[in-house]
Amino acid sequence: MEGWDPNTKSTLTQIPLLTTKAGPRDGAAWTQRLKEEYRALIAYTQMNKSNDNDWFRISAANPEGTRWTGKCWYVHNLLKYEFDLQFDIPVTYPATAPEIELPELDGKTQKMYRGGKICLTVHFKPLWAKNCPRFGIAHALCLGLAPWLAAEIPILVDSGMIKHKDDAASSNES
């Protein structure tokens, strides 16, 4: 579990683990799995809220629950930077982790694959593989996206690659 900051770790351990090993093609088992995913997400969200650390909103975009969309944000220098968030559940899930995309930031940073998929740390994959099928969407967000945002957004803001929407508006106005 090395490679993550203590906050992330403590949070991760508090997210309930999943038990069902099923992908989107496994029918009823997937449903079962989806239920578990929801429970985990609820717990994670509640945890974030209680810690005044709410940072995303997601919802299933299709009834099967294989595509998810939503928003995520990060506060830097008292300014809230908000981005769209989307990802699909791969068919080999849960052996393969979902690839989280931030389409707005596509091409603005090197830590990103084409299409806005974020690059995860080298530690992520082994950890995920090790914890399959206990890790779910909530874990992926917590381990993948949250550290990425914390690392990349300040750099992007300072380098001027991204601008706060107010600033952008004001600059547009002017």
Binding site: K35, Q46, N48, S59, P63
Partner: protein, 814 residues
Amino acid sequence: MDDELLELQRQFEFAQQAKSSIRLSERNVVELVQKLHELRIIDFELLHTVSGKEFITPEQLRHEIAGEVKKLGRVSLIDLADTTGVDLYHVEKQAQYVVSEDPGLMLIQGEIISQSYWDSVAEEINERLQECSQIALAELAAQLHVGSELVASVLEPRLGTMVKGRLEGGQLYTPAYVARVSAMVRGASRGITVPTNLSVLWSTLQQLLQEMEGATGVAVEGSFFQSLFNGLVKEGEVLGTLRAGLHWTPTVFAIAQKECVDSFFSQNSFISYDALQKLGISQPIQFLQSRYPEGIPLVTAFVHPSLTEMLDAAIEDAIEHGSWLDSLSVLPTSFGSQDAYKIVSVCPSLQSALKAKKVLIMGDSYIFSSSFVKDVYDRLEKEMETFSHSGSSANMLGDDSHLVKEAKARQDLSPFETGSESGNSKRGTEKGSKKKKGESSVTKTVSAEGDSENEDYIPTKSKKNQKKRKDTSSSQVSDSRKGAKKDSIKPQEEIVPSEEWLMQKLMVLVPDFEEQGVDDPQTILKHLADYLRPMLINYWKDRRKALFTENVEKMKRLLDNLQRKLDESFLNMQLYAKALDLFEDDQSTSVTLHRHLLRTVATSIADMLFQNLDVHNKLKNGTQVEDSQSSEGISLSPGERTAMAKSFPGSQSKRALAVVEALEGKRVETFMAALRDLAEESGLLLKKLDKKLERTLLHSYRKELTSQVSAETEPVLLLPKVVSLLYIKVHSRALQAPGRAISVAVTRLKDKLDDSAYKILTDFQTATVTLLALMSAATGDEQDCLSDRILSEKELLGSQMPALKALVLGSSQS
């Protein structure tokens, strides 16, 4: 769609919609507070914890500090800073505030300590103390991590209440322990009977305690003993005096000391400092002076005035009787001479006598009355006079040594062995006999009267000596040796009186020096001699000087006289000697004549010269010569002459001996030469005979002879004179002829005289010869015929005398 799933979806939705609880970050809060502070909404001081997560008001901090102190009793500020999480600086500040507010707290070395803490500590200590009976403060302080002084200051008010014990020299003791140690101290100090240095005692006690308690026992400080001891002294449990805080003199000792001193002093009325020192009194003089203010401190002893009175009486007696006194003999034996001097000097009688110059102190302890010294001096002066009268100093000194021996012999009956050995016994015994007769008269004139007495004296004496010799052989040996030494030394010394001589003299003069039992009379004699000697020497010098001036006069006179006489007689002699030339051809007659001349005229000249030279020499040496006149006519024997010649100094003696020799010879000329030499050596002038002088001399001689011839009645004596007169007439030579040479002289006149005159002369001569032959033949018996013949011859001669006289006188007249 699964209901459950839908439900979960809704729940998730709801969870996401739910308002998240707002949380301010620390940073925000800090900023907020700062803002509030800036805006003076918070108008009091606000402290923050070290972590920066908390703000705290000073009141709260004080409260917390107080609470902590109350809980623990003793808190270090550093600990407080930790527990409150506030910076040490603020903690210190607030702690000071807290401590100043609460009198029950104290801030010591970064620690706040409450009285209750001390109380509990005191209780603890008390418990331990009751167990161990003694605890070192240092130990406690180390345990509590505070200074021992602090511990002491804290414990002091609690001693006796919370801590049952006493604090002594950094140690806590229980009363029982103190009692035990104080009992030890009391026992030890009561056991002491001599002055002691207390620290020594304490160290032994310490050792004792250590042994009793084993190695674990804490060393008890000497000061603890000391304070216990001081307490005991104050309470009067031990008696004595303490000097310089350490020197303890028990009363017992002091009393014993005092009693000892008192008893000795009252019994003997003196006490020596040595004795006091033995008793342990280090400063005897001060001690005694404070105790006996009337006493007199001397150099080695302290005396009561009563002793002085005794001495005073003795001195007074000595002065009154014109005697002397060795103060040491009156004083106790332990007194030294310096003591004697000191004590003597305080005697009132002596002081008054000294003022009146009636007394002399010699060699510290000897006291002589002036009259005594004067007496001795006078006697010595007389002695010196006789000394100068007697011949040589060596001789006299030799006598003296015998005299001293005599004196000694009378004292301890020692023999005068040395005297007899050196062959002087006779003189010695002479002196001895004289001594016997007149005790103190020491005259040195050698008189013949003692001879007969000596002869019976010697045997008795020697017998006595032999008897006593056995008893006192040892002392004799030394004596005789001493005497022998003196004998050998004496002659070398000058006439000036030597110290030894003086001492011996004094011994003889004042025999009571020994009679009084003085151990070593030499010392006192030496002092006296030292005193007298310069005076005597002065006197002696004066005498010498006077004598010299006197003698110079005498010498002058003597030499003048001598010169005159010598001139006269020598001229005569020359005159006579000339006459001898007539008989040069006749050997036997010449010898006879030479001898005659030497015997008569030359001898008298030589004697006269010798005697005068002798007197002169003596005068020169400063000796007194009184009867130079009486020695004029004395004729000397050859032996005496030789002795005298030998006594002359140097070359004079040689010449004189030559003269003596010549006197025994046969030639007048050799004598004359020797005599001239001697005279020249002696500074005298011998006149040579010249014509003019010869004539006058002859003339006077002839005149004299003529008058003698005319006055002469004895025919035998007439002949030589007539013959001499005839020789003067005929040959103008003065002839001195002995009887034997007369006939030859007469025959020689034959050619020069008339036949008748010659006839008368020869007749007279033959008649004289027969008369003399007859007279020599007559032995005094009454042989009538012989005496008749002598008578007839005499008559014949008597008848012829006028013719003979006429022959001479007539011719002279014509």
